[in-house]
Symmetry: C2
Subunit: 222 residues, 2 copies
């Protein structure tokens, strides 16, 4: 087992974050590496979903993963065991990553030859929504157990996301959860976001997500 | 239906938060009102648990609830319908409440005659852990679907909590969740926190939580 590198990332308070994010995005575009900012609450199933995603795409794409956490490195080892080039970012108590922190992470990960990098952002529906990390796309995961009212309570996260993955659909029946109501609530905040219900456990809906990734990576490299 | 008051709370950047929190706690102690800071991830079942708690204690205690959210006031109407004096706090995008914001909320709620006030903090396992709000006790809710590894990833929240309520235990069997492992992980961060598994839906474990509240309110007023 390869030892996971742990990087203590620090916010660059002086830089204009939007400018830094745009520059990072342009650089990644030139290099043909697509960065996805993956955001969610704690316990939404990000790591399980990433592991299943890596298994599905292992033969097609070279994938890197940056796991951002306040502490611990358990997730980085998990995704590494599913074939990703993995690195752990520690935010020193901060509840989000900005473009400078993301760039530090990418430099330490090493993006050469990678088609796709997932930034697994800190588990939080508030702060990460406010910062452009330089990613090509923002994808958020809402797990069915969290409930369909979340777009009303965390509006910015739903507003900024290009794609809303609804995870743990295999257990949705045990909760007061309606995909229809969730869709209505997302639409109040974001008329354009795609919504894909899925379960990494049963495989339901995974094909649509994998197809979305394939198409986005192809478009990014075109 | 009484219209819920919505307060836009603002952080007092100049004040020393710890000093303000201590002063607020002393004032509430003099007045015989116990404030509980209730923290959790989005979708952990805070509002459902609060509603069941209000139903159980309605004949014994006068209870107030301050619902803090980035946006919306749906939860405040819910808890009001269960007999609490309720108010909605909007944090203007901020991911936590500090003592000054809590005091603004209490002033607008009106605490005279209240035995117990719940501050339902913003759904977030990171920022709220860093700020003393002036509450007598810090209670966190972790829902079983979030997983038993959360103390490793959000250590400060588990470190500062007096009581960890493990919610949605009725569906724990559908998830990779072990109460034993959770307890081990909590103990790594906090040897003293009580841990109470429960389900507001089935009523399992609710007695222990209600007894804890009764004893704490009695001790606060003694």
């Amino acid at each position: 087992m390869e030892k996971i590198k742990v990087i203590e990332v620090k916010e660059n308070v002086l830089a204009n974050n939007d400018r830094a994010a745009a520059a990072l995005r342009a650089k990644l575009h030139d290099e043909g590496t697509m960065l996805i900012n993956l955001m969610s609450s704690p316990g939404s199933g990000k790591t399980t979903l990433l592991s299943a995603t890596l298994d599905a795409l292992a033969d097609e794409l070279a994938i890197g993963v940056m796991e951002a956490d306040v502490d611990s490195d358990v997730d980085a080892y998990t995704v590494q065991s599913h074939g990703a080039k993995a690195i752990q970012l520690h935010t020193g108590g901060m509840c989000h990553l900005d473009a400078a922190m993301t760039e530090q992470g990418l430099r330490n990960l090493g993006t050469e030859g990678l088609d796709l990098v997932f930034l697994e952002n800190v588990g939080n529906l508030i702060c990460p929504a406010e910062f452009d990390t330089g990613a090509a796309k923002k994808v958020m995961i809402l797990s069915a157990p969290e409930g369909h009212d979340k777009p009303l309570k965390y509006p910015l996260m739903f507003e900024v996301s290009d794609l809303v993955l609804v995870s743990k659909m295999d257990v949705a029946q045990y909760f007061d959860f309606s995909l229809e109501k969730l869709t209505e609530n997302v639409r109040l905040r974001n008329p354009h976001a795609q919504i894909l219900p899925l379960s990494a456990k049963t495989g339901e809906g995974m094909d649509a997500w994998i197809d979305w990734l394939r198409a986005e990576v192809a478009a990014w490299k075109a």
